[in-house]
């Protein structure tokens, strides 16, 4: 029976069942495909904005600081860092795990949300993947220089040494080399593959010869034919399928560096899932830290990266933060329940030893602060979101510091105990890596489309070949 109020002009009122089928629009204000290309490309094509130069004026000196201190370290020796016995891993491995963890949110967004058909990811995946790459660049510095004589770093490659002895493939440290280098390589491939159609858009819009040449070469001659798209989509699906176990494995392997040792506080089976959850937690916080200001500068992006996106990311932070909180409590429980005196002492020392401030900073930042995201108000007001996510950013650094420095500072025998104090080189190098990260990200925003244009077009309602036809 048709509804009596329905006329030719007025469509039939939607039934409750129909209303359930209507999905909220992913792109607001009914933006067209042309608008998406023009607006996102205009960020790359337009005149360099003043804020970009101002930001670069901060990040470039920090990058130079980082590189200068690395040169100082290489020329003088690893002793310029505060690493000592027993805290041999100190800040460098803390910073390594911190940065590599940040990268994980990018891969989660690009791969896992792709496989689970979360279409809202399309407007944030490009920037998040870029963040992954730059975070892994910052991360890679530390283990490479931590080896002390960096010119010997090639010993990590599977080449026999002068005595024909090969690498120990059963060592978690060598697993780490393979995991991180594979992760970086696959992330670059995934990112670049996603860029090809958008580089073609930039190529086709170019006015100057130099830009045409650069974007033309980078776009590899992409034509957008369906005979290309079908292989392209398959490649993208496969890369997402490969990246998903890869991202889970990378931080698991990083955690094996600790978990396969016999040091109390490290030797636990909870480490791999706990590290992965923590990485996603910290990574999403970093995505929001970057995306909220980027969208505040380019206001129309709010139609693509909507409050709904921020809301969803906050929920993921809440979920993963709660998993991390559970892991902290479970560690404490097992330390007590396991009745191993060394394990008990290690956790007592974490909470009430001289590094108590790091432990409680970690607890507050990672467990307490995300609880605000239970409330919709805090998930949807961008200033609040930005302030709250700074706590996970800090908290995840403290977590790695707690795991590495406080654990190593108290070993089995009191004769092997010692404190770690960072030197000015430690501190300035770490601050410098933020400059490096920022510089790379600013260059990315300036020269490449920061939102995946073709994927956003594909989630518009008119992209459906059956759009406008009556559904059954």
């Amino acid at each position: 029976m048709s509804n009596p109020t329905a006329t030719a002009e007025h469509q039939e009122p939607l039934t409750a069942e129909d209303k359930q089928l209507i999905r909220p629009a992913l792109v607001l204000n009914e933006r067209t495909m042309g608008w998406i290309s023009s607006y996102i490309s205009s960020i790359v094509e337009g005149k360099t904005p003043t804020w970009w130069y101002i930001s670069m004026a901060f990040t470039i000196p920090l990058t130079v600081l980082c590189l200068a201190l690395l040169a100082y370290l290489i020329s003088t020796g690893v002793g310029v860092w505060g690493n000592n016995h027993p805290v041999g891993w100190a800040w460098d491995i803390t910073n390594f795990v911190f940065w590599i963890g940040i990268g994980h949110a990018g891969t989660l967004i690009s791969a896992i949300l792709f496989l689970t058909r979360q279409k809202w990811r399309t407007s944030i995946n490009r920037a998040a993947e870029a963040m992954t790459l730059f975070a892994v660049v910052c991360a890679g510095i530390y283990p490479a220089l931590h080896v002390g004589r960096v010119w010997m770093a090639w010993w990590l490659a599977p080449v026999p040494n002068a005595n024909a002895i090969w690498q120990n493939f059963r060592s978690p440290l060598l697993w780490d080399v393979f995991a991180v280098s594979t992760y970086f390589t696959v992330s670059v491939l995934f990112w670049y593959t996603g860029l090809i159609p958008d580089l073609a858009t930039l190529r086709d819009r170019c006015k100057t010869k130099i830009r045409k040449f650069i974007y033309g070469v980078l776009a590899l001659g992409w034509r957008g034919g369906n005979r290309q798209w079908r292989h392209y989509e398959m490649a993208y699906l496969i890369l997402a399928g490969l990246s998903t176990p890869l991202v889970l494995s990378v931080h698991s392997v990083v955690s094996f560096d600790f978990a396969t040792s016999v040091v109390p506080g490290w030797h636990t089976t909870i480490f791999p899932p706990y590290f992965v959850a923590g990485a996603i937690f910290g990574g999403f916080a970093m995505v929001l830290t970057i995306m909220i200001p980027a969208c505040a500068i380019y206001k129309p992006l709010h139609d693509l990266v909507t409050v709904n996106h921020v809301d969803k990311m906050c929920k993921i932070i809440l979920l993963t933060g709660s998993i991390v909180g559970y892991a902290y409590l479970m560690e404490l429980f097992i330390a007590w329940y396991g009745a191993n005196p060394y394990e008990r002492a290690a956790f007592w020392y974490r909470a009430f030893g001289p590094y108590w401030w790091a432990y409680w900073a970690m607890m507050f930042c990672n467990v307490v602060s995300p609880q605000f995201f239970w409330f919709k108000y805090f998930r949807t007001h961008l200033v609040w979101v930005w302030i709250i996510v700074q706590f996970p950013n800090m908290g995840m650094w403290f977590e790695r510091f707690v795991i590495i420095a406080t654990t190593l500072a108290r070993d089995f025998t009191p004769s092997a105990w010692g404190m770690f104090h960072p030197t000015w080189v430690d501190i300035c190098t770490f601050i410098g890596t933020f400059g490096l990260f920022g510089t790379l990200f600013l260059l990315f925003i300036r020269f490449l489309p920061m939102i995946c244009m073709f994927e956003v077009k594909a989630v518009l309602p008119e992209a459906d070949p059956h759009h406008g036809e009556a559904h059954h």
Binding site: M33, G221, R227, M234, A235, H467
Partner: protein, 186 residues
């Protein structure tokens, strides 16, 4: 009808423009049913279901990637057992050098499988797509630049057995194509 490229050079094909994904999809179904072989549709984004509309099978890339992954796995097996069990067996941390050591070998087997699969996926995709190829006859047509923006195109190539310039342009017009253009080689 317009013509682009070097008009004294051989004809590459005839192309037409469409305004939306739905029109392109319907046109593709009709071109498929008309029995053309050498043709393609062009769009700013991949269109869901277009493979069926064009009558194409699933991409073979997945099979290539399987071979790539298998190569990576076997490479890791060779590298790990070859060096640690045969070339220079060395007991470190009490771990054996024989088959019992395999759990400690898993991470690198996994990573190399992923690495070579990913390389195969990307470079295999480029190979199957004939990329990189910076020049193409279609780029002679200025309007074709809009394919990466918001327009949709169909091109039927001259080396299709059913191609005749008259009938193809009429056919594309009957499908609703506009700006029908003959594309010549450079």
């Amino acid at each position: 009808m317009n013509a682009v490229g070097n008009t004294s050079a051989p004809v590459y094909g005839i192309a037409a423009e469409f305004q939306c994904a739905r029109d392109l999809y319907k046109a593709a179904e009709k071109i498929r049913d008309a029995g053309f072989q050498k043709w393609d549709v062009f769009s700013p984004f991949p269109i869901h279901g277009m493979d069926e509309a064009m009558g194409m099978k699933r991409s073979i890339l997945g099979k290539l990637v399987f071979l790539g992954g298998l190569t990576g796995f076997l490479l890791a097996v060779t590298l790990e057992f070859g060096t640690s069990s045969f070339l220079y067996p060395l007991i470190v941390a009490g771990k054996p050098t024989n088959l019992y050591t395999v759990p400690a070998f898993f991470p690198i087997m996994f990573e190399l499988t992923i690495l070579l699969s990913a390389f195969t996926a990307v470079f295999g995709m480029l190979l199957l797509n004939g990329l990189p190829r910076l020049n193409h006859q279609l780029f002679n047509w200025d309007r074709f630049k809009l394919v990466t923006e918001d327009k949709f195109f169909v091109a039927i190539e001259a080396n299709d057995p059913k191609f005749s310039s008259r009938s193809v342009s009429d056919f594309l017009e009957s499908l609703g194509g506009i700006n029908i253009t003959t594309i010549h080689d450079d």
